[in-house]
Amino acid sequence: MKNKLTYPLLFFLGCLGCLLLFLANLGIGSVTIPFQEIVGRMLGGSFSRNTWEIILFEYRLPKALTAILAGITLSVSGLQMQTFFRNPLAGPFVLGISSGAGLGVALLVMAGSAFGWSLYAGAAGLWAVVAAATLGAILVLLLMSLTAWKVRDSMTLLIVGLMFGSAASAIVSVLAYFSEAEQLKVYTVWSMGSLGGTSGQQLHAFLIASLIGLIPVLAFIKSYNAMLMGEGYASSMGINIHRLRWAMIISTGILAGCATAFCGPIAFIGIAVPHMARLLFKTGDHRILFPAAALLGAMVLLACDAVSQLPGSAQTLPINAVTSLVGAPMVIWLILRRNFSKEF
């Protein structure tokens, strides 16, 4: 109760930081657009160079918005998983969603080519990849739902999810082994993640899906607080664990599934950001933690994207490599902290 003032302050600072990162993200790239020019353009002025207009609106703005959406969806689904499974190392992909999406894309790109199709090329290709990833994620989700329906134990569900993921990855490996170099490269590039592949309609679809995926989180926010004490207590406080489990599977399926479909598998955001939110906000209350994780997720992914542009050079790094390079030390540091498990 004594923290009544500090939470709004933290959120205000977070929003401010997010805005700054957003503007910085718009400016950074192979062509640097000065900060004051962007602010001027946003306030209704015009750029001193016409090429900037195209770079900003055709490429950078959708990319920055995608980074924000992906950051939010991945962190929120990661937080759901960690709380539901009472496991600090759970993430959005523990139920095999990214592997399922990867399998979908691999089938499209590599198996498709075996039949002489090249569905992934051309203008329709982007949508085909998104559709394949979505179908793959839905397939794994259906299998997980069947399991959840049969199995009442959450730890079993977690293990089965990991197994589904491994099986999907194994199928991808088999496909990769038999595929041509060109197809392999297309798949590999997809699996490295990219925030720049979405524009216009896709961004709309991503936004709407994300909003739908957030509904179960809002509806069950109190249940997540009860889950802090474990399933036994939560259920003694009138929480229907079975219903919560379904809500969580559907919500993370949509949120993480969409992020993976549009941006490829982006590692570590979903695991590391919820921990950052807990550390910074020092609370276990999910009414604070969910918005905090969403805000931090957006910030971290914007920052990672800015880094991946390698400011000052014409090269870019794959986003998945950057998030892993930032995320892995972060998770290691968290684990090495003495009271990590106690703060969780």
């Binding site: 926010i221 802090l228 004490m229 474990g230 207590y233 003694s236 229907n240 609370t283 106690k342």
Partner: protein, 339 residues
Amino acid sequence: MKDTQPENSATQTILHGNALRLGYQNGNNTFLVAENISFDLAKGQLTCLLGPNGVGKSTLLKAILGQHPPLSGEIYYQGKKLSQLSHKDLARKIAVVLTDKVTTGNLTVAQLVALGRIPHTGWLGNLRDTDISQIDASIEATHVGYLRDRRLSELSDGQLQKVMIARALAQDGEILVLDEPTAHLDLANRFEIMHLLRNIALRKNKAVLVVTHDLDIALDTADRFWLMPCGSPLVTGIPEDLVLSEQINLLLPDQHLFFSKESGKVQTLDHLEPPLVQGPDALTQWVKKAMLKRGLTLEMDMKLEVIPHPFEIRLKSGQEIFRFGSIQEFFEAESWKTE
């Protein structure tokens, strides 16, 4: 039997179990854990459920909590079938302290206790004035006010247990169920927790059901015992009645153990007659106890006397008198022992 009937007009039965069969159904296989379980749980009383490990106490608790319905038989809450109450209604009537370790260190004590209000709040879980006063009352009743702003990771096991009881109180059910709340606690905390629970039962007029293995403390504090022996029906009654009728021995299926009415303790059957020791009872009982443990006996012509202020053990053997300042000295002196 009329005069041994414990219920008077003041005790109200709130939960009534009728011929429960407890177990697990897996396809066509039924794994029966316990049967013939009938009970009445009364408000304003501390009831202790005792029984050996694996006899189905936890399964019975789960049935009472509505988490694992019995195979047959029915539990009634004030005449209504428990199985017909919704999750939320049930949560407003029965609160629980489980053996599960709560590992969320990031919560403060006040926040944890506030979680107990979950069945009473709206979808966001915002607390109203009634919720806050209930939380404050629970914290006060369990004397954990000084811990209010501490994080759970900073509490000792005893403190944590009291906080968990405060949370259950905040849930404001008429029934409080606790699964081994005194396990892993030190002696002082065991007494404190059980007396706290007894006070809660009396002052707040709650039905408190405690699973425990602490027979000593349970005998001191409980109003009712529920004995759950292996393979026989649940036996309920006033603890002292169960001692007098020797039904308390149902807890000790081992042929070598029995509950001694004299000492109020569990003893082995094949123990020796205590040696005759003269002196104040408070002192002689400990000398006797130590001798029994060692299996030491006195010769026919020996007399043992304990003298207080200063403490002295005096052994008369024929004409000789030996004096010892402590039991250890007495044991270490070989001179008087029989070969």
